[in-house]
Every structure is written in C-alpha cells, then in structure tokens.
C-alpha cells in the first residue's frame, strides 16, 4: 500500500531563522536517506510557502482564483512524502519519524488503488 504523508506546521522553512532551517534540512536529509535505505521511499518534496499558493475554482466555465491555500488554518502544508508500507500501522511508524512530526503534525492518507481509479488515471 502507498500512503501520502502531508506535513503540516505553523512555520515552513522560509519562515524560520536560517540556523533553525539549516538544522531542520539536515534532519530531513537523514530521515530521507534512512527511508530510501529501508525501502519505504516512493517520492517526496517540499512545498513553497502558502503565500505562493493560488486556489482556483471553475464556475460556469469561468476560472475564479483566490490567493492562498484552500484552507486557512494556523498550520500550513509544508511538504509531503509518498511511502510504501505493509499497512497503516507501518505507515504510522514511518511517518512518526518525519522531522516535521516533532514540530507540527503529519496527516497520513492511504492512496487509492482500486481498479477504477487505476484505470481512469492510467496507472494500471
């Protein structure tokens, strides 16, 4: 099973003092290299701050857009991992080690693998 781990925190890298950010980056270097070695790694990246986000809607054929992320919460989406794990509990164990879990929180979402989804998305 694949799981998407969404990392949310009050501060993203750009909003941290440089020294803190550097330290945090190093933690991510180590974590990512660990899950590559353990075979859990599928994909990951960091997101630019929510100030760079645009949320769009298509209504009656017209695009309307607003600045910012589609949900306004104190915690912001800062990055993600896609991991491969035996089950949800193994995903929890892996995600608990994401450095951001110690500062903010990590939302774990199972990635669909039903035949219809795989067919529609050309993934089968």
């Amino acid at each position: 099973m694949k799981y998407l781990c969404l990392i949310c925190a009050e501060k993203v890298m750009e909003q941290m003092p440089q020294a803190d950010a550097d330290k945090h980056y190093e933690e991510y270097r180590e974590f990512t290299s660990n899950i590559r070695a353990s075979g859990h790694f599928v994909d990951c990246n960091r997101l630019l701050p929510p100030s760079a986000a645009i949320t769009i809607r298509l209504r009656k054929g017209k695009i309307s857009s607003t600045d910012g992320p589609f949900i306004e919460t104190k915690e912001q989406l800062g990055g993600y991992y896609v991991i491969e794990a035996r089950d949800l509990n193994e995903a929890i164990q892996v995600a608990a080690k994401i450095p951001g879990a110690a500062l903010g929180c990590v939302e774990i979402r199972p990635i669909a693998n039903d035949p219809q989804t795989l067919d529609v998305l050309g993934l089968s």
């Binding site: 353990s38 075979g39 949800l88 164990q93 199972p110």
Partner: protein, 418 residues
C-alpha cells in the same frame, strides 16, 4: 553459505518471509524489548537480506542470520538516536547481552512465539485490542485486512493497535510465558481471543456475509500453532476440535444465495470429512486429559452431531448428558437454551418451551435473538400460530444479520399466510 541462482532468489526470500517472519519477529521482540522497534528491525533485516544474499549466498541458518542482523540494526538505530546523549547510557536490553544465535535452542525460539501470544492476549488489554494485536502480530494480517474483517474503518483498527502497543509499553507488560500457576487462567484468555476470531468468521455479527471465512481459517491456524507449542493442554485440543467440527459444516450451512440452512436440513455429504475426522480424534484425546473444560465439552457435543447419519438418528440423550456436565462446570443461560433445544428434540417442544419460559421469567437472554427464534419454533411446532408470530417478530427486531433476518422473515410470512 549456499549459492542460489539469482532468479530463484527472490522467490526463496519471499517464501522465507511468509513462513518465518513471525518467528523471527517473536524473538526480536524479546531481544529488543519493544514491539515497534522489533518490527522495524525485522523489516531492516529482510531488506539487508534482499541486498546481500544475491551476492553472498543464502546463509546456512537464514533465521538466525535475520535475527542477528535485525538485532544489530536496532542497536545501531538506538545508538544513532542517542548520539547527542551519553553513548554509555544504552540500557541493558540493547547492548549488554551478546547472544550467539547458534546457541539459541529451539525451545527458546518456540517460547518466544508463546511469549508473543500471551502478550497480545494480555488480560489488561481490551478484548478488541487483544484481537487486533493478535491478528496483526501473530497472524500477520494487515491493519486494512483486520478493519475489513471486523467492518470497521482502517483508522479505527490502526488506533486500536497503536494504543494496545502503548499500553504494553507503559504498563510494562512483561514478555513472558506465564508461570505454571497462572498458565490455565492466562491460557483461557488466549483461547477466548481465538474463539472470538473464529466466531466472527463463522457467523458474522452483522453485515451481509454469513461467514467471513478468512477469520475462521486464521483462528484454526492459531489453534494449531498453540497446540504445537503447548501439546499437553486439553482445552487447546478441545478448542481446535470445536473449530474444526463447526467449520466442517461450512459448505452445507448456506444456499448458493446465502440463505441459512438449519442443521437438520443440511446435506450431510457436503460436510468436510477430513475436518470431522481430525476434530473427532482431537476431542477424544482431550476428554482423556486432565483439565478438559467448556471447549472440549462443546466439541464433544458437536462431534455427536456430525457423527449422526441424519438429524433423526442424532443421539440426543448423549447430547443432553454433555450439556448437563457443561452446565455444572460453566453455568450459562446460552448453554441452558441449547440444552432446552436438545431436550425438545428428545421429549417434544412443550418441554422445551417450559425451559425457555423459565429462562424468561428469570429475565435472562431477553435481548438474544436466538432465544426468541427458538421460542417461535417451539410454538410453531405446537401449532400455536399467534404466539409463534409474536416471537418471530421479536427475534427479527433483535438480529442484524441479513441471512438470519431473511430466514426469520420467511418463517413469519409462512405463518401469516396460513
């Protein structure tokens, strides 16, 4: 080292994983002292095997190799996590004792499996947690499979497992086989967990499928494992016999459309003879051992049923006698109800009805749909149409299981059309 051609290698490793990973895990938990860390170590050990064995060959004792590598990986991780702390402060369980795995006796490794079973079924965990943990850690089901089998959301199952492990950690539940003085009582909890899993598979408490076969199969497998580890315990044999004898009727219990077929109407040629034979041997052996109890007696009753060539030829006297012993060691209204059914088969429905009325007057089983279904059946056989209709309606209100609802509804409609 044994050289294996590379193409065979991943199949060999897969087979090894399927057959041995729970045993390796059970020992790693003892050596590392934590279920989560042991699971990671197990994962790392197989990952390392995947990388190293194609070049270096398969070690002569693959399990010992995996245990040893897993343990070193865990120590390694522990040291890395603690690198800012004093390195010396590694607790004893992580560093001090070096274990030579060639010296690990089979007894010890078998005991590890028992330790894991008794830990997952520890009485300080809730029944739900015991079941979820047992299925995941001993049967190697995934969280998602457990959730599907019990008709709960995967996140609910995941949280049960997370909390159960936290409880084991915080309450410092020891990883051990109970002392002889406690064994019988603790074993009872383990047998209860196994039987609950079996029953969940055999007769799902809600939902559309009458049997969720996988759970019954897992429960039987658990029973076999437990018997292998503790061969002299009567009740393990009794429980395994009971499960085999119940499961032997699986094919005959429902129509192709999923409707219930009662015991008396079942096509007995569909019963699984292999399971029956094994169950009967086990039950006879269990009855000869000291300490047999409720599971063995229930298995003995099931054995009398399956050995009869037809419902009419069933030895009801024998069955009633077994129920009497059962009631003496384990007084329970459900057993009384079953005994009433057997007595009604021998002496007629009027006597059965009297026994049920006695249960009701004591306020017992008044939310149990089988009780009203049985009552309805007795009234029906006595030609008491109105009383039967009322009892069927009562039973219908109390059951959530679709095939049972259909069965009761059918009987009810028949009566109403008379």
């Amino acid at each position: 080292m044994t050289q294996v051609p590379e193409q065979d290698f991943s199949t060999a490793l897969e087979l090894l994983y399927r057959n041995e990973n729970r045993r390796v895990l059970a020992t790693l938990i003892r050596l590392i002292g934590d279920i989560d860390q042991a699971e990671e170590a197990l994962h790392d050990a197989f990952q390392t095997a995947l990388e190293q064995w194609p070049q270096q060959g398969v070690p002569d004792n693959p399990c010992a190799w995996l245990i040893s590598v897993g343990r070193f990986k865990a120590i390694d991780k522990f040291r890395r996590d603690k690198r800012f702390d004093a390195l010396e402060e590694i607790p004893e369980q992580h560093g001090a004792a070096t274990v030579n795995f060639d010296d690990e006796h089979d007894d010890n490794l078998q005991d590890d499996q028992l330790r894991l079973i008794f830990t997952c079924c520890h009485p300080s965990l809730s029944a739900e947690a015991q079941i979820a943990l047992t299925l995941r850690e001993i049967c190697a089901l995934t969280t998602e499979e457990i959730a599907r089998a019990f008709l709960i959301a995967p996140k609910t199952a995941a949280q049960r497992i997370v909390r159960a492990k936290a409880k084991i950690r915080e309450a410092r539940i020891p990883y051990e086989v109970p002392a002889p003085g406690q064994l019988a009582e603790r074993l009872n909890t383990v047998l209860q967990v196994i039987y609950l899993v079996f029953n969940e598979g055999y007769s799902a408490s809600s939902g559309t499928a009458l049997t969720r076969h996988d759970l019954s199969t897992e429960a039987i497998r658990l029973g076999r494992l437990l018997l292998e580890l503790l061969p002299a315990q009567a009740e393990i044999q009794g429980l395994l016999a009971l499960m085999l004898l119940q499961d032997s009727r699986r094919e005959a219990r429902t129509t192709a459309e999923g409707d219930l077929i009662l015991l008396a109407k079942q096509d007995r040629t569909l019963w699984n003879r292999d399971q029956i034979n094994k169950g009967v041997v086990l039950v006879k052996r269990a009855l000869g051992l000291p300490g047999f109890g409720v599971y063995t007696l229930q298995a003995a009753i099931a054995a009398v049923h399956v050995e009869a060539a037809s419902a009419e030829m069933t030895d009801w006297r024998e069955i009633i006698g077994l129920y009497n012993i059962l009631l003496r060691i384990y007084p329970s209204p459900v057993i009384e109800l079953n005994r009433a059914v057997a007595i009604a088969m021998r002496d007629g429905p009027a006597i059965g009805l009297e026994l049920i009325e006695a249960l009701i007057s004591r306020g017992q089983l008044t939310d149990y749909h089988f009780m009203y279904a049985t009552k309805a059946d007795f009234h029906r056989r006595l030609g008491q149409r109105n009383e039967a209709i009322e009892a069927y309606q009562h039973a219908l209100q109390l059951t959530q299981q679709e095939p049972e609802r259909r069965f009761l509804q059918k009987r009810l409609t028949e009566l109403q059309n008379q």
